[in-house]
């Protein structure tokens, strides 16, 4: 018997009796929630920034719509899904997505590869169609972390138009203003830790870490990312783009 045969034989026997297994209902429930949350995070970000998204913070709950932005692909050819763990060209024809993902990975090496990187604008909760990236007002990178989610959003000056966060802790940094804000969904089960940078030229980079927790203190303890790490990210001058 060769070692190859031995390994095949023993692997077969060692795994023949499968113990436990995933639960379909749990997968669907969590998947639905996460699809809704991705839209909810984007919408919450827009709402926080005063851009008029309606009901955004309510989208993350169990009763959230099961069909999110990707519903459009049911009607036509689906774009390729991002491959886990691999460099992925999320939006063909531009390298804004690649640059954004690379800069985030450099600053925050502990978080996994993004679930999605996509163009958006001030009126859209979630992605614009990939083919319309040239009219993006902002780009967003969405991540799933061990404790919740993380969204980075970088935008053009025109989207905010001189916005300042009145209810945030703010301080001046060398090339703009840095804001911090913590808030929860209406049911108090999801907490958002927002770090916003608005450059002197008006461009902005916002990062939102979400944590599922019953109260703010628990949520703060469960955070995976430190304020200083996220501040370094949002202040990074490479997180900007211009219209093609």
């Amino acid at each position: 018997m060769t070692v190859e045969q031995l390994v095949r034989d023993q692997l077969e026997r060692a795994t023949r009796e499968v113990v436990g297994g995933p639960d379909l209902a749990t997968s669907i429930r969590a998947g639905r929630r996460r699809r809704a949350t991705r839209v909810g995070v984007a919408a919450a970000a827009v709402a926080v920034l005063g851009l008029g998204a309606v009901g955004a913070r309510a989208l993350g709950g169990d009763d959230a719509p099961a069909v999110a932005h990707d519903a459009r692909v049911a009607d036509g050819p689906a774009p390729a899904a991002p491959a886990p763990g691999a460099p992925v060209d999320f939006v063909p024809g531009t390298d804004v997505d690649d640059t954004m993902a690379a800069v985030v990975a450099e600053h925050l090496p502990t978080i996994p590869a993004p679930d999605d990187v996509y163009p958006s604008d001030g009126k859209t909760a979630g992605p614009l169609p990939d083919s319309e990236f040239a009219r993006a007002q902002d780009w967003q990178a969405a991540y799933t972390t061990d404790t919740g989610g993380f969204l980075v959003m970088m935008g053009l000056p025109e989207e905010l138009g001189g916005w300042r966060c009145r209810d945030c802790d703010a301080h001046q940094v060398s090339s703009g203003t840095l804001y911090h804000e913590t808030y929860s969904t209406d049911d108090g089960r999801t907490w958002w830790f927002g770090t916003y940078f608005v450059g002197d030229d008006g461009h902005f980079v916002n990062a939102f870490e979400s944590v599922q927790a019953p109260d703010q203190q628990s949520a703060a303890r469960q955070r995976q990312l430190s304020d200083s790490d996220v501040e370094g990210l949002v202040e990074d001058q490479r997180l900007s783009f211009s219209r093609p």
Partner: protein
């Protein structure tokens, strides 16, 4: 209450058909059924999130990639919490000459997670080198060399004459 997406039926069918083989793959990489369950559960959730964007012919590869990379992430996390990269002890014949049950899983624990994945995908899932390369994002040459190295290390632990004889008797 939200609408059920049209594609959800296909997802359910895929789950039922593929959860068991994916559990086996995850177990071969992680060496623990509860950890495998966590990894596969996480992967199926991620699969649900991305399902509408997955090309119809690529679902199986995508699912396998998701499971394997979730396992890598979990193994990295485990590695930060406990040192797991020590070599397993070599098994020896028992007092009456009977070879004790060889523990392949313990032998696999001496390999790096990526090498364990190569072994699992090649010899449990029976994938060709090109498919393993696709799942792991490695060149085919690297898959071949990692396979050879992994087998060498496993052979050092498992393939003693006593072990081979024991495996034959277990059949």
């Amino acid at each position: 209450m939200g609408r059920t997406p049209a594609w959800e039926g296909a997802y359910r069918e895929f789950f039922v058909a593929r959860q068991r083989p994916l559990m086996r793959t995850a177990y071969a990489i992680l060496g623990s059924w509860p950890a495998a369950e966590d990894a596969v559960q996480t992967a199926f959730t991620q699969l649900y999130v991305h399902w509408p964007r997955i090309q119809p012919g690529a679902v199986d590869t995508y699912a396998r990639r998701t499971v394997v990379h979730t396992c890598f992430r979990m193994a990295r996390k485990q590695g930060r919490e406990t040192a797991t990269d020590r070599l397993p002890e070599r098994h020896v014949a028992g007092p009456e000459g009977r070879v004790e049950t060889l523990d392949l899983m313990q032998a696999l624990a001496g390999l790096a997670p990526k090498a364990r994945a190569v072994v699992a995908l090649r010899f449990l899932d029976d994938l060709p080198v090109a498919e393993v390369a696709l799942v792991l994002d490695l060149p085919e040459g690297t898959v071949k060399s990692q396979t050879a190295r992994a087998l060498d290390r496993l052979q050092a632990v498992l393939a003693t004459p006593e072990a081979i004889e024991g495996a034959r008797r277990d059949r």
